[in-house]
Symmetry: C2
Subunit: 453 residues, 2 copies
């Protein structure tokens, strides 16, 4: 075999020990909070049947699915002559990599409905894959950390999820602003301008206000067939300012003739009331320009931004009333959130929020002075492991300088030097790499010395 210059597919990443430690710090924090709120874990396969995935993420989403070539003689019985790539791919592939965790979750709930206890509070932390054009902060493989409650339409679930969001970011020391909206308010706005059928177009356009500004949004609305009069009526809506209560009052007056719109306002009011006893640290702000593209949201819409970093949303979610319907289970309401671990990582790295301790490896390394000394150290090593101390023996009888520089690079605090003399005396020389101190201790004292750190 010829030499290959090793590389990985574009948009994917290797994670080394230091990054792993930091990523695990984020995952462990999120997982810990999910658990504390009574959510239980599930995992689904990386590959789903393509018909589970197709049509769930819009036309654009379908194109971004990674498809798996059928195994074996996949061409058997297929004449590719004259077929387009799109048509042929459907013949050659019946599986795809999951695109998010929400659709697999919906599929899971329907498939396992007999085993599931409703309301079902599940969390799921797994990678997803999208054939997006890779760019800064956007990857083709990335982790999502989702928590959803399915089988209950109480707004207490929204409150609980917002409590989770608040706790996670406060534990991670990331100052967060939680933006709320309600799809029914957006529907009310479409009612108000007299074009309820344009709700989707309006939602999609509105979602871009922050990115492309009012003028471009208005242009897009016009293209989509929203009347000029409608566009005029829309504009002041998005200029509504003030505290949440003021905004809701103003909005209530504008949407007074839309039953749906008023219901949305009511839901936000109730949710805000539930949040009071939770005493969140994060700012919570009603933002009626928040739509989050995804058409399956039917009620509450949630998006979280980091206050001290310029980056897209670091968490988002919402309520969907009929996600499981397409898989045959009707009238099951759900609400969920998804943390974007990669963006959170970027924010924390940028703001230097990782604790120094995350990349700890062994606490102790025994230097290697040769066969006999190594055998002597092995007994001690086994004792340390049994006592719960992470420890290792340098495997080769290399120069001490090399061994010490290895320990140093790996941030190992204690080096045990057990040479011929020490073994004869029944003592161990222990060098503290942080303080530079060196002491002689008995093997028994070694465990205590390390544990006291």
């Amino acid at each position: 075999m010829s030499n290959q210059k090793p590389s990985i597919p574009k948009g994917t990443r290797d994670f080394g020990p230091e990054e792993m430690a930091r990523r695990n710090y984020i995952f462990d924090t999120i997982r810990g909070v999910f658990k504390k709120h009574g959510y239980v874990p599930i995992e689904t396969p990386a590959m789903e049947n393509l018909d589970t995935l197709l049509g769930k993420y819009g036309e654009e989403g379908d194109k971004l699915l990674f498809k798996i070539l059928n195994s074996g003689d996949f061409l058997n019985g297929i004449d590719p002559e004259g077929m387009t790539s799109g048509a042929l791919s459907m013949k050659l592939c019946e599986k795809g990599l999951r695109y998010d965790l929400t659709v697999p979750f919906a599929r899971y709930v329907v498939q396992h409905q007999q085993e599931v206890e409703f309301p079902f509070r599940r969390y799921q932390i797994q990678p997803v894959w999208r054939a997006d054009r890779p760019q800064k902060g956007r990857y083709r493989e990335f982790y999502q950390c989702d928590a959803d409650v399915i089988g209950s339409n109480s707004l207490l679930n929204e409150a609980d999820l917002l409590g989770i969001i608040d706790t996670v970011f406060s534990k991670l020391n990331v100052r967060a602003k939680i933006k709320l909206n309600n799809r029914k308010i957006l529907a009310g706005i479409a009612d108000y301008i007299g074009q309820p059928e344009k709700i989707t177009d309006i939602t999609v356009a509105i979602d871009k206000i922050e990115k492309i500004g009012f003028d471009a949004v208005n242009q897009e609305l016009e293209q989509k067939g929203v009347s000029v009069q409608g566009i005029y009526k829309l504009e002041p809506l998005f200029a509504i300012t003030g505290y949440n209560q003021e905004k809701l009052d103003k909005l209530g007056r504008i949407l007074q003739h839309s039953a749906t719109g008023l219901k949305g306002i009511d839901e936000i009011k109730n949710l805000l009331a539930y949040l009071k006893p939770l005493d969140l640290k994060s700012t919570v702000e009603l933002d009626i320009s928040l739509a989050r593209g995804l058409n399956y949201y039917t009620g509450t819409i949630i998006e979280v931004k980091a206050m001290d970093a310029e980056i897209g949303s670091i968490c988002g979610g919402g309520r969907y009333d009929d996600l499981t319907g397409i898989f045959g289970l009707k009238d099951i309401s759900g609400v969920g959130i998804s943390f974007g671990a990669d963006r959170i990582y970027d924010v924390m790295k940028h703001l230097k929020l990782f604790p120094g301790e995350t990349d700890r490896s062994s606490q102790i390394m025994f230097a290697n002075f040769g066969e006999n000394e190594a055998l002597y150290c092995l007994t001690l090593l086994a004792k340390l492991h049994a006592a719960g101390v992470s420890a290792e023996l340098y495997p080769d009888n290399a120069k001490l300088k090399k061994q010490l520089s290895y320990a140093d690079a790996r941030h190992i605090q204690f080096i045990v030097l057990a040479g011929e003399n020490e073994i004869r005396e029944g003592l161990l020389a222990v060098k503290n790499m942080v303080t530079g101190e060196q002491v002689k201790v008995t093997p028994e004292e070694l465990v205590e010395l390390v544990k006291s750190e």
Copy 2:
């Protein structure tokens, strides 16, 4: 969209909360021991470039790779006319799902050689994918838990890995038998029968002794061109019995003219000497019929069987002297082990070895008696969460019976009943679902009550 009956690709699995808790118990145990021995984690992408994977697992392995269809207009410039599936697949796909964790690790080490501190002790716990025919206990997606040391040829590394194996299975309460062999002994045997060039065929055939028996193995050897005389000379070798020391002595006499064979015997002797101070609980047995198919092993070969269950190996590994060579980094010796989490799960389930506690969800559930009561409970809930107690509020004002049966199904121990009366009194009724006891406590006493459990 029409209704779809939800399903997942054959050979893949969903894991529900109970299975997840048990699987995490296995993963956490393995991870904990890896860490205690100073191994650090890495993760690599699910997708690798196909040229990283192809040719590494033999012809059969190449066929078992899941290939990813190129994105976009993948047919552009390709005329599929007259191409075989195999040839076409190489035009349509440039990525594949990883087949194991060893080759991606080798690729990682070469690609990141400037950042890596040698000897590099890494662990990696991730799923792998193989387009194998699914059958009982064999899946198309399964997890591997690998630990490898690369950049040191000391047998202390083998000893350390065997220590890890022993600790993992003793923590999991799985009685394990560790089988050892050395590729150099197998080479010595090929020398001994005078056909050193047949080492691979002999290895592959020998590996099947346990599965297909001597006669079938001999037949295969004959087909592969091993002389009848050679086959006669082989047979008594595999009938060698006794303690490890006796076996080594007998083998030493037989292989006395093969320098390689004697080196293999020496390595096993040294390794056994290193194991003494570690005082392993598992049985360690030299088994010269152990070959583990994989041709990249060059020294020690390791395989672990559960003593109380009829199942294939639950862990395996060995030393490879030139794994990174194909990626351009020569003369780096490595040794590694891989735990098969799925098989371990099956063994533990069969032997009922999972502790009852693994599937804990919330410790406390607040029953829901309506709006005002829920608001009252939310404050307490936030306090419990802050105190580190896992707790939830039933989200709907459903019949109490339904709420209790939900709590029961989820093994929640304490139900807090805070109705109108309790709230007026400033007390909470707490029902212990395990003992049936019901007590009234103040909110402050509630935290203590739960924490004392």
